[in-house]
């Protein structure tokens, strides 16, 4: 099994990759053969993710965004068919119900890359709000049952052991403290009274 993530641009750094690997290795219970990081910045946006469908055409694949919190053992997220998250169980549907913070497939789904790459300028313009709309409109997919909610800043949601930060990814920066901090690698504020207080609220 292969775990995949993407690092490009300025918003995320090697710390975020190390942090994801730390949470997977420490809390998720996932056993994997390789941890792959896609770093080639072809588009300057999240369409870069699509490279993984070209690069990894065999075996079991599980992709994570870097702005996640993994706080415990994960259910089986490996899927045979191309599968991603449907967020509409916790948010209103926007331009797409989908969220590709977690994606899984087995074998070869390079047709996704081929379709996009063949008309990438057109699709970048057409689906300029993000790559998830491309999946919604152009690709056959399956969705997970509810498995990954948006972060609740005030309380650890013990029903799910993974959550997405989404717009809240700033909480990964130095200076932010909450229940999530103890799951991150080398939290900058680990010994602070504030973190102790947040831990007591769990």
């Amino acid at each position: 099994m292969r775990i995949i993530c993407c690092l490009f641009g300025d918003k995320f750094t090697q710390w975020h990759v190390d942090n994801l690997k730390h949470m997977i290795d420490t809390y998720s219970g996932l056993k994997y053969d390789s941890f792959e990081v896609i770093t080639e910045d072809l588009y300057g946006n999240w369409y870069n993710k699509f490279q993984m469908y070209d690069k990894f055409r065999d075996g079991e694949n599980l992709y994570f965004d870097l702005d996640m919190v993994i706080s415990g053992e994960l259910p089986n997220l490996i899927r045979k068919e191309f599968t991603l998250l449907d967020d509409t169980w916790w948010r209103e549907e926007a331009h797409t119900p989908l969220n590709s913070s977690i994606v899984s497939w087995t074998g070869d789904v390079s047709h996704i890359w081929d379709k996009f790459k063949a008309n990438d300028t057109y699709y970048l313009e057409k689906y300029n709000k993000g790559s998830d709309e491309f999946y919604y409109r152009e690709v056959e997919y399956q969705t997970y049952d509810p498995v990954c909610p948006k972060i609740n800043m005030n309380k650890l949601n013990t029903d799910y052991n993974v959550c997405t930060l989404g717009q809240m990814h700033h909480v990964m920066e130095k200076g932010w403290t909450g229940w999530w901090s103890q799951y991150f690698i080398s939290s900058q504020t680990l010994s602070s009274p504030a973190l102790s207080w947040w831990k007591q609220q769990l």
Partner: protein, 246 residues
């Protein structure tokens, strides 16, 4: 604990603004506090320096809003939080200002005496940790929208300005109580001598004073705010600035 928080970025000001602000507060107050600064410059001096991330969705003065979140800057329930601009000179004892009583769902801000459409002033916010968290929580849901909104709307004349308009709007929307400190505590200074004459006149009329700032600062004034875009302290050489800004 009281935390006094500020933001330093870019090159309009120099890093010593932060040190001088905090030093002068300590010199002019008996109230203990922790100094906090969000900064892109490693040379600023504060008890807690947190990184100003140039790659963030959050731009310029809008970083100040982070302090409204109880998750930021090691806040602890019950803490009193003050957020100040760095372009201010402390000229008198400010125990009454930084010790101004505040309760949950209240925002203490400068009672300004010059013309303004707003009820809040971005130079000084005081609140109970987390009690106004909606300011940050609503902003970060769509920072791009809010950071451009007041410029597009014509309320401010510079892109990414309008942070105090937003705080004003949110505190009113959520019906938080806005409490203004006495206006006579605050001086305002301009680089333009004609503007300063006009400001002196307004202050004198309003508070029955003989002057606001001439060679020295009126004894009722605790703090002088260098307001307006591009107004710096270090480019002025008035004697009273030299005396107090250190």
């Amino acid at each position: 604990m009281l935390k006094i928080c500020t933001v330093y970025f870019g090159d309009l000001y120099t890093p010593d603004y932060v040190e001088k602000l905090f030093s002068s507060i300590r010199r002019n107050s008996s109230i203990r506090f922790q100094s906090v600064c969000i900064s892109d410059n490693p040379n600023v001096k504060a008890d807690l320096v947190l990184p100003y991330n140039h790659h963030s969705d959050v731009k310029k003065h809008w970083h100040k809003l982070k302090f409204f979140s109880p998750h930021f800057a090691d806040q602890y329930p019950g803490d009193d939080i003050i957020v100040m601009d760095i372009d201010q000179v402390i000229t008198n004892n400010i125990d009454d200002l930084i010790g101004y009583p505040v309760h949950d769902n209240e925002l203490v801000t400068y009672g300004i005496w010059w013309k303004s459409l707003l009820h809040t002033n971005g130079g000084f916010y005081k609140f109970k940790s987390g009690s106004l968290k909606f300011v940050w929580d609503d902003f970060i849901e769509n920072p791009e929208y809010w950071q451009n909104h007041y410029y597009i709307n014509g309320d401010v004349h510079f892109k990414y300005y309008g942070e105090q308009n937003y705080v004003n709007w949110k505190t009113e929307e959520y019906k938080a109580k806005i409490i203004k400190t006495p206006g006579k505590w605050i001086g305002r200074y301009h680089s333009d001598i004609r503007d300063n004459v006009e400001l002196n006149k307004i202050y004198c009329d309003k508070f029955d004073a003989e002057y606001m700032i001439l060679d020295e600062v009126n004894e009722n004034i605790k703090i002088v705010h260098f307001t307006g875009p591009g107004k710096t302290i270090h480019e002025h050489n008035a004697q009273w600035i030299e005396e107090h800004w250190k």
